[in-house]
């Protein structure tokens, strides 16, 4: 009997904490979800309904006409939007692929090899992240002009790489640090070359880390706005974030259209994250906790 009361008292106390936690999470969730929900709801309203005040909480005549227009390559709006979408996909994908190609060997080298200036170089890699991105806007613009890359998408790929790589390398290095060096040694003794040992033994073990870095660099380039706005002029080369901004100015009154475009822009990121989030979580915890 006394045992039961002793057990009940602490549970009651922790119940209080648990409920506080739940309330907090619900508020946080609402804060994150509601704008997105409003975006989706608005995107399926008619133009008239979208401007009503007080707002129509639930669209009475839902329509997907905005989506069909945006994704219709025969209409002007559709063509413009699809160009932006394609540009974004292209820039983000190339950045991601190049990022992984550079980050994987770089992180491996930092983790495994002892070479002169290793520590110094490693901190140099992280130096970029100590400054706000805007600080580099003008210098990078001048550099891109030297390289004759202004108004090409390669200027963005290059810029996003310099921003994304430090964290990718850092994250992956943590991964490689946790893979016992004996595994590679065993593989080399078992008949693999150093390179083969890396490909056959180390790479599969670090795939969660590689996937996580890939997601990270894709999302960063997908969302980036300021550099895309500065480096690109040609309308045919713009990426989605800048393109959407153009929509704001050109189609001010078409709120449902804007919201539909925004929604389409968020889909790839959300889907990618949902599918691969377990790797992302694994990557972030793996580096921190020694197994």
């Amino acid at each position: 009997m006394s045992n039961a009361t002793a057990a009940a008292a602490p549970r009651r106390r922790s119940d209080g904490w648990r409920w506080t936690g739940r309330v907090y999470l619900v508020v946080l969730l609402a804060f994150a979800i509601l704008p997105m929900l409003w975006m989706v709801l608005t995107s399926i309203k008619t133009q008239f309904a979208a401007l009503q005040y007080p707002p129509e909480w639930w669209p009475s005549n839902p329509t997907i006409s905005q989506y069909t227009t945006l994704l219709d390559p025969t209409s002007d709006v559709g063509r413009e939007f699809l160009t932006y979408l394609w540009n974004s996909v292209w820039v983000s994908t190339i950045t991601t692929i190049l990022g992984v190609i550079v980050a994987v060997p770089a992180a491996y080298a930092f983790s495994r090899f002892r070479f002169p200036g290793r520590r110094w170089l490693f901190y140099a890699v992280l130096l970029r992240n100590m400054f706000p991105a805007v600080v580099f806007l003008i210098p990078l613009f001048i550099m891109m002009r030297w390289l004759h890359l202004v108004n090409t998408q390669w200027s963005l790929v290059l810029t996003y790489l310099t921003f994304g790589l430090p964290l990718s390398i850092w994250l992956l290095k943590g991964f490689y640090d946790n893979i016992p060096v004996q595994l590679e040694q065993a593989a080399r003794i078992d008949g693999a070359t150093r390179f083969k040992a890396f490909i056959l033994v180390v790479m599969p073990l670090s795939s969660p880390g590689i996937i996580a870095t890939a997601i990270y660099s894709f999302i960063v380039s997908w969302n980036e706005y300021v550099y895309a706005l500065t480096f690109l002029n040609d309308q045919s080369k713009l990426t989605l974030p800048v393109g959407l901004q153009r929509f704001f100015t050109e189609y001010t009154t078409n709120w449902p259209g804007l919201m539909a475009a925004s929604f389409i822009m968020s889909v790839p990121v959300v889907v990618m994250f949902l599918v691969l989030q377990k790797y992302f979580v694994k990557a972030l915890t793996e580096g921190a906790v020694k197994s």
Binding site: A187, I189, V201
Partner: protein, 363 residues
């Protein structure tokens, strides 16, 4: 199977010599243990033989091939690691098959060899499991199996038993020994545990500070340690080592302590002691060669029992002789109380004498 020859092998990092001019030959089919405390260079030596780190000087030959610059994969060796280094994302079967796949053996041959190795090590029922689903002992067997499948010229083992619990370690120790006897394989085995070396190896190489201290059969190392380091490292409890001063009176030689007690040496022993470079001589005696008396005996040294440790088979008594403490083993039936006065008698034929200056054995 093959012989392994190390000739003046050096591995240095700047002025730090991890392996300092080590020369030794492991005969074909021999089981050699590299022993020493942590940081003595034994694992570095093994890694040099494996080719996992580049050699700084000297020559390593496996069979009649100098392998100094060869890749690990071309040295025809297999290695068992302390943490087993099983590929965590591969099943046991694939772990065992990996070395064979790397050598592009036909699939049916791989299958046959893997199953054969699994049978030898009694792990057939584990073939489909992942390494993390296995117990420590099972992982150990798989690691051994991966070394075994390829039938290499030399087996290298880096503390393969030190991650197992005490009971399993003793069991695996006998299995490894049996495995060596059946295969007649050349094995180089690194351990910090002198007991493992003594029980398993045909020869043991005792290392300290990157230097090879002694290389001989365990019984020989035990009976004739080359210097005070080997004397104190091999055998448990360690050999008693008491630094003394040589004094001469009436043509006889005694070893005297600062407190004044003396051990008179027999004429043969006295002759040996005279070879010391100075008059500093270290007296070495194993616990089992010292007799303990409960009353004064001519030639015995008076002391005081300090700590009494019964182990069941034998009782260890630590005896204080002035500042020095000497461990003596006695029959469990002998009862000694702490602080009781006792007398210690050294067996002249079984004591060891070391040069107090060079620490080397006097012979």
């Amino acid at each position: 199977m093959a012989e392994v020859r190390l000739d003046n092998v050096v591995k240095n990092y700047g002025s730090l010599y991890a392996v300092n001019h080590v020369s030794l030959t492991v005969a074909d089919g021999e089981f050699v243990a590299l022993v020493g405390p942590s940081g003595c260079g034994k694992t570095t030596t093994l890694n040099l033989v494996a080719g996992l780190i580049p050699i700084s000087g000297g020559e390593i030959a496996i069979g009649d091939r100098v392998v100094n610059t060869l890749d690990p994969k071309d040295r025809d060796i297999a290695m068992v690691f302390q943490n087993y280094a099983l590929y965590p994302n591969k099943s046991v079967y694939k772990n065992l098959a990996f070395p064979l796949q790397m050598r592009r053996l036909p699939r049916d041959q791989i299958d046959r060899k893997v199953k054969q190795a699994a049978q030898t090590l009694d792990i057939t029922h584990l073939l489909e499991r992942r390494p993390r689903e296995l117990s420590g002992g099972q992982q150990q067997r798989v690691a051994l199996g991966r070394a075994l499948v390829r039938d290499p010229a030399v087996f290298l083992m880096d503390e393969p038993l030190s991650n197992l619990d005490a009971k399993l370690r003793v069991q695996m120790r006998s299995e490894l020994k049996r495995f060596h006897q059946d295969l007649e394989a050349t094995v180089i085995y690194v351990t910090h545990d002198q007991l493992e070396a003594v029980t398993m190896a045909d020869k043991m190489a005792v290392m300290n500070g990157g230097l090879l201290q002694q290389y001989d059969a365990p019984a020989e190392v035990f009976a004739h340690p080359a210097n005070t380091f080997v004397a104190s490292f091999v055998g448990s409890p360690a050999m008693n080592l008491v630094p003394l001063k040589m004094v001469e009176a009436n043509g006889q030689i005694a070893l005297a302590s600062p407190e004044g007690w003396q051990v008179w040496l027999s004429p043969e022993r006295a002759q040996v002691a005279r070879r010391a470079s100075t008059n500093a001589v270290i007296l070495g005696a194993r616990h089992s060669t010292i007799r303990l008396h409960k009353s004064a005996v001519p030639g015995a040294v008076a002391g005081q029992a300090y700590i009494v440790e019964p182990t069941g088979d034998v009782t260890f008594v630590q005896v204080k002789l002035g500042a020095a403490v000497v461990i003596v083993s006695v029959e469990p039936s002998v009862s000694v109380a702490p602080d009781e006065p006792v007398w210690i008698e050294f067996d002249q034929s079984k004591i060891h004498l070391f040069d107090g200056e060079t620490q080397n054995a006097l012979t």
